[in-house]
């Protein structure tokens, strides 16, 4: 599975904000940490803002913050904002195809179904919790921001 750079940027930005609830994060901070241009990030944040996932505040002390529910928003919810038609690359109803083509589409559909089930069941909070668990297991306290 290969996601576009903008999609990866969006997921990382949302996770960064969601793991810091009620905080205004300067966009420049996110851009620097994840090595993306501020221009690119601004476009991504605009899409996330229109979807009601993040909110931006201008002026001194301003920045962007996560306003969604991290326990409800899944990776799929973010990905579908940036990867339109991702699950429609192959025909779902292969009418008029050969038996071999029908079987091929069934297998591809099987892969899509597993991918969708995975992305639709992984919430932002799950990723944040698992990252914390992993950091603690490895004793990587330095990885946990103060």
């Amino acid at each position: 599975m290969k996601l576009q750079q903008g999609t990866i940027c969006a997921i990382l930005a949302v996770l960064h904000m969601a793991s810091r609830p009620n905080q205004q994060i300067p966009a420049s901070e996110i851009a620097e940490i994840y090595g993306v241009s501020q221009h690119h990030l601004a476009k991504v944040l605009r899409t996330l803002s229109l979807a009601g996932i993040v909110e931006s505040t201008r002026g001194p002390g301003g920045g962007c913050s996560f306003i969604g529910d991290a326990r409800k928003i899944t990776l799929y919810d973010i990905i579908r904002l940036f990867e339109s038609g991702w699950f429609s690359a192959y025909p779902g109803e292969p009418h008029g195809q050969t038996d071999v083509a029908e079987e091929l589409y069934r297998v591809v559909g099987e892969v899509d179904r597993h991918t969708a089930a995975t992305l639709q069941s992984v919430t932002l909070q799950t990723i944040i919790n698992n990252a914390l668990r992993t950091a603690r297991r490895r004793g990587h306290k330095a990885m946990v921001a103060e």
Partner: protein, 161 residues
Amino acid sequence: MIAEGADVVLAAEGLREAGVTIDTVTLEDIARIVEIDAQVTGSSKADFWYGCYARQNTDPKCTFLVAHRDGEFAGCTIGAIQAWEFGSPPCGWVEVMFVAPQHRNAHVATGLFEAVVDYFRNNGIYTVRTMLHIDDHSLISFFRMQGMAAGPYIELEMQAD
């Protein structure tokens, strides 16, 4: 990097606040489980649940735990230790995770999950598995939230007609 204070589920605290206790199943619980399960799923499975109760009393590698909230049945879980099934070294299977509708979102399932994992751990088992319907995203999401992820086995099936 993850910020300090990010939300990690603190089940024990949540359970205390929600008035939830977890114990081994009793015959009284089974009648209530059969009743609620039939209401939720639309099919009565009395033989299955009483069978699980009998197994819990005879099989030392199986546990059947129930959660009560303010004295009322709130949910149950069944854990079983299986060795060499499908060639797998010993592991703990979470066979059932059920929460009564009126007690959902009260940390009941999290408490039951932690209790059944404790049972496995106390029996020297450190790998935990379960199996779910691929379209049951909310239940898959629950187990993922507890730290579970796809494992090395895959389920295959066919119609044998």
